[in-house]
């Protein structure tokens, strides 16, 4: 592929992924209210447009039009950097996700992945670990006790659950033998989904994903009863919109990562029997990936409107005393299973 075509293609792909991320995050806010309505036997938003389909647009216009207040005693630069950083790190993770296999057009192969770096998992992890800065900086710059408490809660929660998440990922890396997200997705062709190989690791990863995105039942950084609004108490207008938007983008990316790591990514069993055209097969893969992602997002909302919030000591006990030992046990079991022939030979069976 010529260099110009390559660069233009990658730029287009970046724009498409960005636009889809924004669109899905926008309609996740609508879906959240509809799902909440469904689970609580209400109607949900139904005024703006057909079935309330224009509600996100109305919300966005409202957020843009609202008065913007910056507390006079706050650190103004950091106050503005906080939400921007939150949204930036949320958008950065989509780069290493394989959205499908390759599309062949005019004799050229176009892979549906922006960058297949050989340390893709570590890249994802790095971005997640710097995602905490947006919340911390915003909460501190607000110069408000509740904001600071929310920020401290958010960062300690995210650091604690990153440990268990990393340990559950190590067991996955041991079975797949690669750190490239593209290869992990490609390996799960057919019925070789990683959730069947790593059920415990998958469960730990999903729980940690809930904690990393600060979603219920782990939404302690912003619990209204204790902290007013948590780290975004002082924020108004679109800056608060940025924080809320970043949360929805994180939810979308978490659902994507869970589908790609454990539930086969763009693979769907038996589809090769019905569809034979390569490009059509790729498009089917993209559709399947998004079906899995949408179910994942629905699962996030389902849990939020079903389970009550944890207490803070319960959250820490769950993270440090249950999930980390369990994930270490998972690593040991995985290693023992991989070395079972050597162990058997050693024990003279």
């Amino acid at each position: 592929m010529a260099l110009q075509t390559y660069i233009i293609y990658k730029l287009i792909l970046v724009l498409v992924v960005f636009a889809f991320t924004m669109l899905i995050a926008m309609y996740s806010t609508y879906a959240e209210r509809k799902v909440a309505g469904f689970l609580q036997d209400r109607l949900g938003p139904n005024r703006a447009g057909w079935f309330g389909i224009l509600q996100p647009v109305a919300d966005a216009v409202k957020l843009f039009m609202k008065e913007e207040t910056i507390p006079s005693v706050s650190n103004k630069t950091l106050f503005i950097i906080g939400p921007a950083l939150s949204l930036l790190t949320a958008c950065m993770t989509g780069v290493v996700i394989p959205w499908g296999t390759t599309i062949t057009l005019f004799g050229e192969n176009f892979p549906l992945q922006i960058a297949d770096v050989n340390i893709g998992i570590l890249y994802l992890f790095g971005v997640v670990s710097i995602g905490v800065y947006g919340i911390m900086i915003g909460g501190w710059a607000s110069n408000n006790k509740y904001s600071l408490l929310g920020a401290v809660r958010a960062s300690s929660q995210m650091i604690s659950y990153e440990v268990a998440m990393g340990l559950s990922i190590i067991a996955l890396i041991m079975t797949t033998g690669t750190l490239s997200v593209g290869q992990i997705a490609a390996q799960q062709h057919g019925w070789h989904w990683n959730v069947l190989v790593q059920p415990l690791g998958c469960l730990i990863f999903i729980i940690c994903a809930f904690a990393e995105t600060n979603r219920a039942p782990f939404d302690l950084p912003e619990c209204e009863q204790e902290l007013v609004g948590g780290y975004h108490t002082e924020y108004s207008s679109m800056k608060m919109g940025f924080y809320l938007f970043a949360e929805y983008i994180n939810m979308f990316i978490s659902a994507t990562v869970i589908s790609t790591f454990y539930f086969g990514g763009y693979n769907m069993p038996f589809i090769g029997r019905f569809v034979h055209d390569a490009n059509l097969l790729t498009l089917c893969g993209v559709v399947f990936l998004f079906a899995k992602i949408f179910f994942g997002i629905f699962f996030f909302m389902w849990v939020r409107w079903t389970l009550p919030r944890f207490r803070y000591d319960q959250l820490m006990n769950l993270g440090w005393k249950a999930l980390i030992p369990l994930s270490i046990l998972n690593i040991v079991l995985t290693g023992a299973w991989m070395m079972r022939h050597e162990i058997m030979a050693y024990l003279n069976f």
Binding site: N75, L78, V117, N118, I119, L122, Y123, F125, G126, V128, S129, I130, V132, Y133, M136, I137, W140, L148, A151, V152, S155, S156, I159, E162, L179
Partner: protein
């Protein structure tokens, strides 16, 4: 060619952020500049083809250690009133010590013009497969001993953090 430009650009940024760490008045700003300096150093690792080291550098230093630094500084709420006053003698001796260190550095760097590489640089050594093989085959004992050292430090920190030891 482009890597040379990138090297100079990243070096400039690294030194600038490192200076900002020292010169900024607000401790929270200092920590944030230090985080930026770590990011530019991670960029240097990528230029040396050591992506694994770059990623781990970002995860461990920028993502975990600096967050804890920020944590402590935010909760301490440092400002002018709580700043400890140092005697002029202490400042004077600090200047002399730093000046002596500068003399030693200049003296040692003066003779170091022709550095020869002792073995050829393998551009693939930073890739994770090669790094893992090197660590677990050639340097297994030092690797395990350093991990035990870290574990001992962790246990010690937990013990010190406990309120009362019975």
């Amino acid at each position: 060619m482009i890597t040379t430009y990138l090297f100079y650009f990243l070096s400039f940024l690294t030194i600038m952020f490192a200076l900002m760490v020292v010169f900024s008045k607000n401790p929270v700003h200092s920590v944030l500049y230090l985080v930026m300096a770590f990011f530019t150093i991670a960029g240097h690792y990528v230029l040396l083809n050591a992506q694994f080291l770059a990623a781990v550098h970002v995860i461990v230093y920028a993502g975990a250690i600096m967050v804890l630094f920020l944590f402590v500084i935010m909760l301490l709420n440092l400002n002018k009133e709580t700043e400890p006053h140092k005697s002029p003698w202490l400042k004077f001796s600090a200047v002399i010590a730093a000046g002596l260190l500068l003399v030693v550095l200049v003296g040692s760097l003066k003779g170091a013009t022709n550095i020869m590489a002792t073995n050829n640089f393998d551009a693939n050594i930073g890739l994770i497969e090669n790094l893992g093989k090197t660590l677990f085959q050639d340097f297994l004992l030092p690797f395990e001993i350093s991990s035990i050292l870290l574990l001992a430090a962790m246990v010690g920190a937990v013990l010190l953090g406990k309120k009362s030891i019975k």
